[in-house]
């Protein structure tokens, strides 16, 4: 077996520890089968330790393609019939699926990936009988894992890969591969190949899958179906057709249509034969989907045929428009990866909108039936075996509907309901109790405790679903109400926020970002009232920058603005928390000192004078400091009102100016120049 060297880039991906990989039994199987001479018995034992895995393998071994053979019921019989290697590969593939989760790559549609992979697997399984040397199980495994390299990139490099996917959306696959190489030095075809080898799949298998990834939907002149990669190509076309949506681009539909036509030729099938084949594939797809908890949809092939016809017509027109009819169509597109888009999701309720149901019963038989019934209806089901487990899950996952058995040891359904109703999260859940025959005594208490509905055990599936429809309606309404409530709250918050900002703006001086005159006067008024009513003290300090006009005239208004700003800031940072500085206008500021009598306010004013004098302002080639003249007036000086107090402070500023500036004056202090303040003001 000749193998290529594994590129170092793959080893790096692998060492991230987040590559999609088999889990649990899968790992054990990998270990057991590491060498070529592994024991089929040991592997059989390992598989049997997982009952769901066993069931899946038996189902596949007994499936319709092998009709006419005796049904087999044991893993060892399956190994006998299919061969140890095939069983091993199946077990690995199933265990990779069971590990899946919706990863974090935003541009990657995980549910769609699995839906498409499963459809491809089922199609490959059906077509395998026409390919010499490929068993249907091999086809199944190959189909399922054919795009695992894409999944690997989405998982390991979720963010950069989202970017790659978005940038190459709708582009031919060759562009996607090139972009992957440019970003990660490796592409998904190579990763696929390496992962297959890593899991011990044969080299021929790995390279067939790789060549499918490199050369998907290549329009060969002569169609043939004689290798595993041909098989994958046709299976992929069928899978894509089953996932067509209104948004699938015509070009893509055209390619798929060509492939399906080719397939029909190769198989020499009539339209009716083809319909039968596709119908069978679609049926198996939904059956396996249910089994593996992968979403599928009901497909009518007459509608696919119509879609293909319409798509090809549209595509022809597009081409004619673009080139006058002389274009060769680009062959390969990564539509299954991104562009078949969310329309599918909407139609089938994939993704987040599925209604979440929590099933609770201590009786394992009843619980299993309940879960199966609910899952069959497409609910997203979790389950719990007792009340306290249900409580934990409810708080963690917030199910929309809870169906709980009433009679459970320790915590009954009713107690669970009461507990849930006490929590905010549990208050909006729709709770249905499953009760025994003698539930009448319970009715009143139960409804009072917040139970929404009752169903008698043993339950009838149709009846249960009819009752749940009522619940779904309520869940829908609640979701809408919750959404409306959020919108309203958001709008309200926006509005409040806006109003607050408006108010703040109206009270703030835009240049210095300290409160403006209006704010300052409101504050003085309120301090005055409070002082009169409660006997508290306060003082005002009027501040005027000395020779400010000269700064403006000499250095320009920009420098002047910087001086104002810087002075406001330095004053503000000098004050105690309850004191406030405001800009009254021009170069004039007011400090309101709460609780201060005249002497204390003078001390404060002196401190301000010093910090301003020491504050160096640098702006546009200017470097210097300014000084201020300050006038102090305090409530304890017995003014008759706010305006008298303000005027006194103003007068004190004039005195300070007259006395040589850069100093503090208290109101009503005697001064030789106090009688002619107006003259001096002009020279400030």
């Amino acid at each position: 077996m000749q193998k290529r060297a594994i590129p170092v880039e793959f080893e790096e991906l692998k060492s991230s520890g987040t590559l999609p990989s088999p889990a649990g039994v899968g790992i054990k199987i990998l270990e057991i089968t590491r060498t070529d001479e592994f024991s089929a018995d040991d592997m059989g034992q390992a598989i049997m330790s997982d009952s769901s895995l066993t069931g899946r393998i038996l189902e596949l071994a007994n499936s319709a393609d092998r009709a006419g053979q005796e049904p087999i019921t044991t893993v060892s019989a399956a190994i006998m019939r299919l061969g140890a290697t095939t069983v091993r590969n199946l077990a690995l593939a199933f265990s990779v699926i069971s590990e899946r989760d919706d990863g974090s790559c935003k541009a990657f549609n995980y549910p769609l990936y699995w839906s498409g992979s499963l459809a491809r697997a089922v199609a490959a399984k059906s077509l395998a009988q026409h390919v010499p040397g490929v068993s249907s199980e091999e086809g199944y495994v190959a189909g399922l894992l054919a795009e695992v390299g894409v999944l690997a990139l989405a998982t390991v490099h979720s963010e950069p890969y989202a970017k790659v996917l978005l940038e190459t959306r709708g582009q031919p696959m060759s562009v996607v591969l090139a972009a992957e190489n440019a970003t990660f030095d490796i592409d998904h075809a190579t990763i696929c190949y390496c992962m297959m080898l890593d899991w011990g799949l044969p080299e021929s298998f790995a390279s067939a899958v790789e060549s499918f990834n490199l050369d998907r939907l290549s329009s060969k002149e002569a169609a043939e179906l004689d290798s595993l990669s041909d098989l994958l190509r046709f299976a992929d076309a069928i899978s894509s057709a089953m996932l067509f949506t209104a948004t699938t681009p015509p070009r893509r539909i055209n390619e798929v249509g060509e492939q399906i036509e080719m397939l029909q030729q190769v198989l020499e099938y009539s339209d009716a034969d083809l319909d039968r084949l596709l119908g069978q594939i679609s049926g198996e797809w939904s059956r396996w989907g249910e089994r593996l908890d992968i979403s599928t949809c009901d497909v009518s092939f007459s509608s696919i045929r119509e879609a293909i016809a319409r798509g090809r017509e549209a595509f022809k027109k597009e081409v004619e428009l673009q080139t006058g009819g002389a274009i060769r169509c680009e062959s390969v597109v990564a539509d299954t990866i991104v562009t078949t888009t969310d329309a599918v999701e909407d139609a089938r309720g994939l993704g987040s909108e599925r209604i979440k149901v929590l099933a609770v019963d201590d009786d394992p038989v009843a619980l299993r039936l309940l879960v199966a019934t609910l899952r069959k209806q497409g609910f997203d089901v979790t389950f719990a075996k007792n009340g306290s487990e249900a409580m934990r899950i409810s708080m963690r996952e917030g199910p929309d509907i809870i169906v709980a058995d009433q009679e459970m040891p320790e915590m009954s359904g009713l107690e669970l309901t009461r507990a849930l109703r006490r929590s905010k999260r549990g208050s909006s859940m729709y709770i249905v109790l499953l009760t025994g025959a003698r539930a009448e005594d319970l009715l009143v208490t139960a409804f009072e405790s917040g139970v929404d509905d009752f169903i008698q055990k043993p339950f009838d599936a149709n009846f249960l679903l009819a009752r749940l429809r009522a619940g779904m309606r309520i869940v829908g309404l609640q979701r809408r109400i919750e959404e409306d409530r959020r919108t309203i709250l958001r709008q309200l918050a926006d509005k409040n926020n806006f109003n607050r900002r408006l108010k703040m703006l109206s009270l703030t001086d835009l240049l210095t970002e300290v409160p403006n005159r209006r704010h300052a006067m409101e504050r003085v008024e309120s301090e005055w009232k409070s002082a009169n009513r409660r006997g508290t003290q306060f003082a005002v300090v009027m501040v005027d920058i000395d020779h400010f006009k000269a700064v403006n005239d000499t250095h320009g208004h920009d420098v002047g603005d910087r001086v104002l700003k810087s002075t406001a800031q330095v004053m503000s940072s000098t004050l105690r928390g309850e004191d406030q500085v405001a800009r009254l206008g021009g170069e004039e500021f007011l400090i309101i000192a709460r609780g201060a009598v005249l002497e204390e306010a003078r001390v404060l004013a002196e401190r301000v004078r010093i910090v301003v004098e020491e504050n160096i302002v640098e702006a546009d080639g200017y470097r210097g400091s300014v000084t201020v003249s300050l006038g102090v007036a305090a409530f304890d000086q017995g003014f008759t009102g706010v305006s008298e107090m303000m005027k006194a402070a103003d007068d004190a500023v004039y005195q300070a100016k007259n006395l040589g500036r850069n100093q503090v004056r208290g109101a009503r202090e005697s001064s030789s120049c106090a009688d002619e303040p107006h003259k001096r003001r002009l020279s400030a």
Partner: protein, 138 residues
């Protein structure tokens, strides 16, 4: 899942060979399970196996409770068996458990309780045989 009983009386028991060969099981209930499994036999066998495992413990409990005349113990077992056996179509056995449950709840003499209890334990043996036959036929 219409297991909740329109089978009438013992005379109405189904004799279809598909049900594992005993009249102790209601074939309709088993069909419902097959249908729920989407025509997939594994689901039916999973449910039956779950039941057999669960029921064995419960029947042992019931037996011990009858020996020691512990009404509560018998009651718990009968209650649980009543509902889960109905799911796998053991209608007659389910009915017997229901009867036993009501004997346990009544305050009267326990002779009927003992008789019904023994009948239930004996009947379970038949249920078990019939269900294993169902499993074997899958």
């Amino acid at each position: 899942m219409n297991t909740s009983g329109d089978s009438g009386g013992p005379a109405a028991h189904n004799h279809s060979p598909e049900n594992g060969g005993g009249e102790i099981l209601d074939a309709k209930a088993l069909d419902v399970l097959r249908e729920l499994g989407g025509g997939d036999a594994e689901f039916l066998s999973e449910i039956v196996e779950l039941f057999l495992a669960e029921a064995l413990t419960r029947v042992n409990e019931m037996h011990a409770g009858l020996e020691g005349l512990e009404k509560d113990r018998v009651l718990q077992a009968a209650h649980a068996l009543k509902s889960s056996s109905a799911h796998v179509g053991a209608v007659e056995f389910s009915r017997c458990c229901a009867e036993l449950e009501s004997h346990c709840r009544s305050s009267e003499q326990s002779e009927d309780l003992i008789l019904t209890g023994r009948r239930a334990v004996a009947m379970y043996a038949e249920v078990q045989v019939a269900l294993k036959a169902v499993l074997g036929a899958i």
